[in-house]
């Protein structure tokens, strides 16, 4: 009845709004009493004392109750009236969306290719360093990780909460082999028959070790996959989570190999196909007749990780159209039906798992080469959680969605590092990055409400007879592990 909504607020409405406002205030009071009402501080003699913050507490409760009152009395009726007024007619929202889906990928690709030039032109050589490295490279590493995990979680439907383990394996493989040389064994004709030696790879280290790091990570993926892929759902998630922690603890405790908490420092940096980015005479700048600047290395790293990420995307797109990709999809949809069609589900899961691990390992090798220093700190569970969150937020299986989620989440975090605006509001010692996880959780709640299946909800069929129609997300299953 649209007419009822137009009538002005009556006394009954006000009472109802007051009642719900009181309830909201009560809940807020209960929640905030321990969180905000009490505060522990150290006094002069280093003792913890309990302080109360009643004014702040009551101010917050009042704000929440007031907002609730406003919502019930003004905003909701207004929205209802508006909804009643707008007749649901033939809209071209679907057409618009199709156009967007058609043009977004090429446009985004063009933008990321031109991005370093844009940054240089707009912010100059000094400012561009921050924009290309902190934003560009950082986001692209996560895009690559997200796309790698997308194969495992989004396509094959196996929830892997320990993905960072493979990232770590790749990073440490590159760091140790590049620094100490690649070990190899020579057979001797006489006792002791074997000789161990290291071969130092020099300027080509990164290019040789990139595939090796990927393969080692894939090998660990297989090793983990064999025993655990018979598990499903929550159990698989728990075991993979534990695997991530095991790798991290080994990195911490195997001091002789990994140098423990102190990490591995001065890792050789990637070279421009053998030419190092140094100020020396045989450095990149000297050879190409440029003035030395750290920006060249940063730009090169940007294009390197862009190429790696695009390679990942191309590989995934191609595999999705092959029988193995369809088998991943089918595995996510219904594992028992897969087995009844003669598909070896264990091998199919292993391919997804180890391929995802390989991509994670290659991203790890890049990460180690870019940082020049790695320690177990970089491979905590939080990293795994962020990558899983990107895949879920992006929409399971959608590459564009995962990339968007990476931009929003990683870019958002980086943005918060230098928001001086917030400092003027909350005081000089306010550090926005500390609220990152809070905002993170807030974003997840919003996504759960508005887009419970992620940003991109449709699935693109791998093959078609007459026309390719996107499959509605409501029909696509998420897999049970």
């Amino acid at each position: 009845m649209p007419d009822a909504a137009i009538t002005p607020a009556s006394g009954v409405d006000v009472v109802r709004a007051l009642r719900s406002a009181a309830l909201a205030g009560l809940i807020a009071f209960g929640l905030f009493l321990p969180l905000i009402g009490f505060q522990t501080v150290q006094n002069m003699s280093n003792q913890l004392v309990l302080e109360t913050r009643w004014p702040l507490l009551f101010a917050l409760v009042a704000i929440i109750a007031g907002l609730r009152f406003l919502q019930d009395l003004v905003i909701t009726p207004w929205l209802e009236r508006r909804a009643a007024r707008v007749r649901p007619g033939p809209t071209d929202a679907a057409g618009l969306r199709a156009q967007l889906a058609r043009w977004l990928p090429p446009f985004a690709l063009g933008f990321v290719i031109l991005y370093p030039m844009l940054a240089l032109a707009l912010t100059g050589s000094q400012g561009a360093l921050k924009w290309i490295d902190n934003f560009g490279v950082q986001i692209l590493i996560y895009v690559m990780l997200g796309w790698g995990l997308n194969i495992v979680v989004g396509l094959a439907g196996l929830l892997d909460l320990g993905y960072v383990a493979f990232y770590a394996v790749g990073a440490y493989s590159y760091a140790l082999f590049a620094k100490f040389g690649l070990p190899f064994i020579t057979l001797l004709p006489s006792y002791p028959f074997l000789e161990f030696d290291h071969i130092h790879l020099g300027p080509w280290a990164f290019w040789v070790l990139l595939p090796i790091s990927g393969l080692l990570a894939a090998f660990w993926g297989l090793l983990l996959g064999f025993p655990v892929l018979r598990l499903r759902g929550d159990y698989l998630a728990i075991v993979t989570l534990a695997f991530g922690e095991i790798i991290r603890l080994v990195l911490i405790n195997w001091v002789a190999l990994t140098n423990g908490y102190a990490g591995v420092a001065s890792i050789p940096r990637p070279t421009f196909f053998g030419i190092p980015f140094t100020a020396a005479d045989d450095g990149f700048a000297a050879i190409f007749g440029l003035e030395f600047s750290p920006i060249y290395r940063t730009i090169f790293l940007y294009y390197l990780i862009l190429a790696l990420a695009l390679l990942t995307a191309a590989l995934t797109l191609r595999l999705r159209r092959l029988p193995v990709g369809r088998a991943w999809d089918a595995l996510r949809e219904d594992e028992i039906a897969c087995r009844s069609l003669g598909i070896n589900t264990r091998n199919t899961k292993l391919t997804a798992f180890s391929l995802g691990a390989m991509i994670g390992g290659m991203a790890g090798a890049f990460f180690a080469g870019r940082q020049g220093f790695i320690s177990p700190e970089s491979f905590t569970f939080t990293e795994s959680a962020v990558i899983v969150a990107m895949v879920v937020l992006g929409g399971m299986g959608s590459q564009i969605g995962v990339a968007l989620a990476a931009v929003v989440m990683i870019g958002g975090t980086e943005m918060m590092r230098d928001l001086d605006v917030l400092k003027s509001v909350f005081g000089a010692d306010f550090d926005a990055t500390q609220y990152r996880m809070l905002l993170f959780g807030f974003a997840m709640v919003l996504i759960m409400i508005w887009k419970p299946r992620g940003l991109i909800t449709t699935r693109r069929p791998s093959v078609f007879l007459k026309e390719r129609k996107a499959v509605s997300g409501a029909l696509v299953r998420e897999g049970q592990g």
Partner: protein, 301 residues
């Protein structure tokens, strides 16, 4: 019936779940090129038999042998059982011991396909994709285990084209060509049933196991299903093992009927014989205890 004409031979199959005996010492034969129906009241153990044959359950005891190609291979059954191997494969045919095979190999090598009581399609994939997943193993070989496929070699393109053509033939047959690019989950119930059978047929089986294909269909659809199954039997040299409650369908299309009750075979024969069997009538309609004894005495139990 002689063993030579058999496609599947089940000997002394027993399946226990803890203390519960779901199937007890069941032996039967499914003849090549025939529709064999497995019927019985709810809880008789029919689906358990299916799950044992298709490898989803590991049978507690018993032997299940499947053969295609030259019937002479049946002579290898005892030696094969003794040797402890899975299969005996020759140029002119193959013999498999299904209880020794994992579920996916039962379909992949022994060429037994199945459908499920509660339909198990891939709802988020299109109708065409469902039929292509069923041809996974052939396509996987053609794509060189994905390597040739990634390189976009024409070998794979041709194989995929052939697979799509085969899928289209099945779509024409089940009248779903127009829905090929729609998600399987959006199809009507009857269409999903037909698609599941077509999908099973795309694995090129010699034995098709259908678990209640007529459940939930209206009388017209049931009649169509009967014709569809007879066509499969006659055109594709495919034997069918059928679990069904709809007696109209069963009596119409079955060449041979086996009746189970409480995991035990109580009748085995032609449809007319089974229809008039006192034990079958007792099992289906139920009788009080005195009558069971009386009927039992009459039929010599």
């Amino acid at each position: 019936m002689s063993a030579a004409g058999a496609v599947l031979r089940v000997d002394h199959l027993t399946m226990r779940f803890g203390g519960l005996v779901a199937v007890n010492d069941l032996s039967f034969t499914a003849a090549r090129g025939e529709i064999t129906a497995l019927i019985g009241p709810n809880g008789a153990g029919k689906t358990t038999v299916f799950n044992c044959i298709t490898g989803f359950y590991k049978a507690t005891e018993g032997r299940m042998a499947l053969q295609f190609g030259s019937a002479a291979l049946w002579r290898e059954l005892e030696p094969l059982t003794q040797r402890g191997l899975r299969s005996h494969e020759r140029a002119d045919g193959s013999l498999f011991l299904l209880e020794r095979m994992p579920d996916f190999l039962v379909t992949q090598q022994a060429r037994v396909a199945r459908t499920f009581q509660n339909i198990r399609l891939f709802p988020g994939m299109t109708v065409l994709e469902n039929l292509l997943v069923a041809q996974h193993n052939a396509l996987m070989r053609a794509s060189g285990w994905s390597i040739l496929g990634i390189l976009r070699l024409p070998v794979y393109g041709r194989a995929e084209g052939a697979a799509i053509e085969k899928a289209r033939l099945w779509l024409d047959r089940i009248g779903l060509t127009d829905r090929a690019d729609d998600p399987a989950g959006a199809l009507a119930y009857g269409a999903q049933r037909r698609l599941e059978i077509a999908r099973a047929m795309c694995t090129e089986p010699v034995l098709l196991c259908l678990d209640e294909p007529a459940a939930g269909l209206n009388p017209r659809e049931s009649a169509e299903l009967g014709d569809y199954l007879i066509a499969i039997r006659d055109q594709f040299a495919c034997s069918i093992l059928l679990i069904e409650h709809d007696m109209t369908v069963v009596m119409e299309i079955s060449d041979h009927i086996i009746v189970l009750d409480h995991g035990v075979k109580i009748a085995d024969g032609m449809p007319e014989a089974v229809r008039n069997d006192q034990k079958v009538i007792a099992a289906y309609l139920g009788v009080d205890d005195r009558e069971v004894e009386k009927v039992g005495a009459e039929v010599g139990l």
